[in-house]
Symmetry: C2
Subunit: 397 residues, 2 copies
């Protein structure tokens, strides 16, 4: 089905089996929301789930809700996330923030390679990953090497390397790192890998089991629509669980938390990554948001993500070929995440002009316009309209 | 006003200037809720605030809410908490969980005393404090000494001691540690102190400034009624801010988080204790819960706490004097927190029998019954009735 006119895009929307999923979302009228890669919108199940947690679980059931649901929520939510990233249900836990979880994983992973002193990452990794790596390395006596690109990363792999930490989909360009290839190269060199899936989960295919991945981490407030500051998740391969010793040893990760024992003993399995009391209302929002995914065929979802981003590129091709706008994302759809980066010297002003027209995008230093194409609720006609608005603004400049 | 009959207690309730505050709370009918020291109940402002954050801030305003309120919420909530603990508004930040925050503070404090290698605590400290201390010490090359009592603690203070970490009000016995005295002894020995205020804030007087305290931490889901797993807070004295280097260096604690710079530089002031994205819905619940405190005279509140616990002890005196029940809390009201611990060989069964009669308390190993007397909503008549129920159960046993 070609999409060279707005009518064709609308026909494609009408035929889209995912179109009805958009009805779950409480999006404001009159805007095209291309920020689902930054803050996913509120959904009806999420709103209902929070209100239930508030009024019934907290308001009426009070402390009984801890044994009757809350205590297991970090594990239960992990189970629900697992299928989105090709993990086993017992390999994922929802806990803390991405930054805190990277710290836990880096220290736990480094302890599995006590005779190796190097962590390798990309120099253009997301800043919080870089900051936490530096600090975790300083505390554990490791050294971080920031590789310029994939070639440099692979070249850096020798017997001094304990682990690699990488973001799977780049937050600026949406370029996707080759998970299978890098994981294999790391394992061949005796190293472990931590994948940051913040810009991947819920939008692009991830198969941690097929990649034989060791560890992963990610947030749930982007494509999962878990709410502002929704809790993050950790993945650790089950084959490693018994050996893992993470450093934030709070009582929620104890084998017998209500034994109030004087010495820490980690819970079995993934629960040992728990630390303190989870902020339940925010967990409830994520729980509701995941209901939306239950109704969705993941293959169709990821296919729609690719078709949306390809449509945007196709519509902007005249601007690219005339040099008035630069595509900041890969042309190869198979190594591209679910947002598109455009580069322009006046990127900030363009984002502001788009917003004035109801097309919500964002700006990232130095010259990036990011358009998040969340396949659960962005329509083909939205992409057509957004491209039209960009063409008018950039063409007129 | 004596309270030897239920009628006298009811008259005292009728004359209580704090009585109307109870109307803010959505407590279930027919129960006496003595678990406010564990999970504070839902209040009307809290419910309203969460629904506003959900429907308006997230649902309608979406990403604009980050610059327009959410980004500053951890600092704004810290400002609101400050007066409850005698801190300056710029000295408190709401962030993460108590366990995570203890880790941050221990490492940051230890870095201020690089030539000292010992952390001192009580052996009966809350388990999560002990677990985190052990782990933070292991990572930073320190050693933890667990003192048996105050004498042993003071005796342990020599020039090897970097810091003391203590819980202000003991989670089992409600015994209150002498903050001024211990802080002074620590300072005289060149050491720093971290106070865990989990069982103090909102229920007993705390004056961190008067005590010249260095650091504090605590949760907000007990007497502050911030909701299940509500975020914790950190206090650091302003005189130390510029030197503090905490180890969970996520992008929310960066001086210019939206600069996305490759190197971490801490934000000025208390904000440097931020790490990742805060779970906003749970922050909103706390924000609403603090509205209740705005209407309250803190002196009257803390006085009511002491009167409630003294009433309970007075009513149970016949059981104590006949040896059928043991008081597990201090008799001296000035060194007692806002819960009362009772000890009995059949404590677990007594808690269950009380619950069957609608009197909600909890059990802690090995033989403690804890009764939380949250002065915002517990009535004198409730204490009378609870004492009556205990007397009948224990007397009949």
């Amino acid at each position: 089905m070609s999409m060279t006119t707005r009518e064709e895009c609308q026909r494609r929307d009408a035929a889209d089996p995912l179109a009805r999923v958009r009805d779950y979302f409480l999006l404001p009228e009159g805007i095209i929301y291309l920020l689902g890669n930054s803050l996913g919108p509120l959904s009806i199940p999420s709103a209902q789930r929070v209100k239930h947690a508030l009024d019934v679980e907290w308001g009426e059931q009070l402390l009984r809700s801890w044994p009757d649901g809350w205590w297991d929520l970090p594990v239960a939510l992990g189970r629900r996330l697992a299928r989105l990233i090709g993990a086993r249900p017992e390999e994922v836990l929802v806990t803390d923030s991405t930054s805190v979880d990277i710290f836990k994983l880096v220290v736990a992973a480094a302890r599995l390679r006590p005779n190796r002193r190097v962590i390798v990452t990309y120099e253009n990794n997301f800043p919080t990953d870089l900051y936490i790596l530096d600090e975790a390395a300083a505390l554990t006596g490791l050294e971080v090497r920031r590789a310029k690109d994939r070639g440099a990363l692979i070249e850096a792999l020798d017997e001094s390397v304990a682990l690699i930490e990488l973001t799977h989909v780049d937050y600026r360009t949406a370029e996707m790192a080759p998970m299978v290839e890098i994981t294999k190269a790391a394992h061949d060199a005796g190293a472990l890998v931590i994948w940051d899936l913040a810009h991947s989960i819920g939008a692009v295919p991830v198969d941690l089991s097929a990649a034989d991945a060791d560890f992963a981490v990610g947030c749930t407030y982007k494509y999962l629509n878990g709410g502002p500051g929704a809790p993050a998740f950790v993945f650790a391969a089950a084959r490693l669980h018994d050996e893992l010793h993470q450093p934030l040893t709070g009582w929620h990760g104890h084998a017998r938390p209500f034994g109030f024992e004087p010495t820490y003993e980690p819970a079995s399995g993934i629960r040992r990554f728990s630390t303190g009391s989870p902020p339940i209302l925010s967990y409830a929002a994520l729980d509701g948001a995941l209901d939306v995914f239950e109704a969705v065929d993941l293959g169709a979802l990821f296919e729609k993500s690719r078709t949306l981003s390809q449509l945007l590129i196709d519509r902007l091709e005249p601007l690219f070929s005339s040099g008035r706008l630069e595509l900041g994302s890969p042309r190869d759809v198979m190594v591209r995440g679910s947002h598109i980066a455009l580069r322009h010297a006046n990127a900030g002003a363009i984002v502001a002009q788009l917003e004035a027209q109801g097309v919500l995008t964002d700006f990232r230093d130095p010259d990036y316009i990011r358009l998040g194409l969340a396949p659960l609720f962005v329509r083909y006609a939205d992409v057509f309209d957004a491209a039209d608005a960009i063409t008018k603004i950039v063409g007129a400049a």
